[in-house]
């Protein structure tokens, strides 16, 4: 044991100060991260079957717009949000339900009857009657909802 190997008072204090300082730093950083991230990563709604309306409302061969409202909780604010769904049936027996949200950057698309196309006003995305991309930047067809018919009423599986 040489004298140089011994911990001097100065070195001890230096180590202690850096150590305690580091612990305090961690004590701030770790809670801060969890606080900032907050509920940002929490999943949205749980899956539920939402009632759209009677099948008789669907015009054969034309996407028909149905809307329903859901309650959403964002931060400390409770909102009512309108959700729109296009339902298409060509034969009156099978139905498909398409989201009205553009697959490019989430603008709302709408059905242009004269052109027989869905059109997105944000970046000129164009979809055909069953939601396939015809033109513009959208990377994939319109999202579809699972759909069921019970007692002549249409239901879509929403959320999740």
């Amino acid at each position: 044991m040489s004298d140089e190997r011994k911990l001097s008072r100065r070195n001890f204090m230096q180590t202690a100060i850096w150590g305690i300082g580091g612990l305090i730093g961690i004590g701030f950083t770790v809670p801060a991260i969890s606080y900032v991230v907050g509920h940002s990563l929490k999943g949205g709604q749980t899956e539920t079957w939402m009632q759209l309306g009677p099948t008789s409302k669907v015009e054969l061969g034309t996407p028909t717009l149905f809307t329903f409202s859901i309650q959403t909780q964002t931060g400390w604010i409770t909102n009512t949000e309108q959700i729109s769904v296009y339902v298409l049936s060509t034969d009156g027996r099978t139905y498909i339900a398409m989201s009205n949200i553009c697959t490019h950057l989430a603008c709302h698309i709408r059905w242009i009857a004269e052109q027989n196309q869905f059109f997105c006003p944000c970046h000129n995305g164009v979809f055909d009657i069953s939601g396939n991309v015809l033109a513009g930047p959208p990377p994939r067809p319109l999202n579809r909802y699972d759909l069921k018919v019970e007692d002549g009423q249409l239901f879509v599986l929403f959320g999740g």
Binding site: Y35, H39, W76
Partner: protein
């Protein structure tokens, strides 16, 4: 590796000289009362960090202030901790700066050549009290509302200019959205800017003039 980076930086910035001036300066033999200033600085740092975090969720409007504070306290992960640190830190801050001031008074440390350090300290005390007064309203509960009603009314009792001061502080004749948002702006922009500048000057002078020794009996 670290030593190499340090040397590289030091050659270009002389940071080591700055570091030594701040942390390795010569001081007289002192006691624990001399740590009150550093303790105040530490709590001020705590207030800054937790205060910045609180603004990530807090909304300074009458229809959201209370709810956003409740959201922070009950919903945000560790929000109770961040708000608690800020809340209790505020009280600790007042206690520490007052004790720090008492030490300076009782040891006569405000005398030549440290008068300017003392002056900045006096203004810093007012700034800290201002932080407490403006921050108290922001939770926007009954206690906050009525405490600010009382506090601003006290300003209103000044002779001649009282009513004018009261209206300027409240941003009108009563406590409203205008009051809340100007208290918020003062609390997060005006006072922190003043605090930063004044602490800068205060610490510069503490280092520039050195600290006073514990006074000796008699002599």
């Amino acid at each position: 590796m670290v030593a190499k980076i340090n040397r590289w930086l030091d050659e270009r910035t002389s940071w080591r000289q700055v570091w030594d001036t701040i942390f390795l300066r010569k001081i007289p033999k002192v006691n624990w009362f001399y740590t009150l200033g550093s303790a105040s600085l530490f709590v001020a740092l705590n207030q800054a960090i937790t205060g910045i975090l609180l603004t990530l969720y807090y909304v300074p409007t009458p229809d959201h202030a209370y709810d956003s504070v409740q959201y922070i306290t009950t919903q945000v992960p560790l929000g109770w901790l961040i708000r608690g640190l800020h809340h209790w830190g505020a009280s600790v801050m007042i206690v520490l700066v007052v004790l720090h001031m008492l030490r300076v008074i009782l040891y006569g440390a405000y005398k030549y050549p440290r008068e300017v350090t003392w002056f900045t300290g006096v203004i810093l005390l007012l700034v800290v009290i201002g932080f407490g007064f403006t921050g108290y309203l922001l939770a926007w509960d009954k206690k906050a509302f009525w405490a600010t009603t009382v506090g601003t009314s006290i300003a209103g009792t000044l002779p001649l200019i009282g009513d004018t001061i009261l209206r300027i502080v409240r941003g009108g004749s009563e406590i409203s959205a205008v009051t809340l948002v100007r208290f918020f702006g003062t609390h997060v922009w005006v006072l922190p800017a003043m605090l930063l500048i004044l602490i800068g000057v205060h610490l510069f002078l503490v280092i520039r003039n050195g600290i006073s020794a514990v006074p000796k009996r008699g002599g």
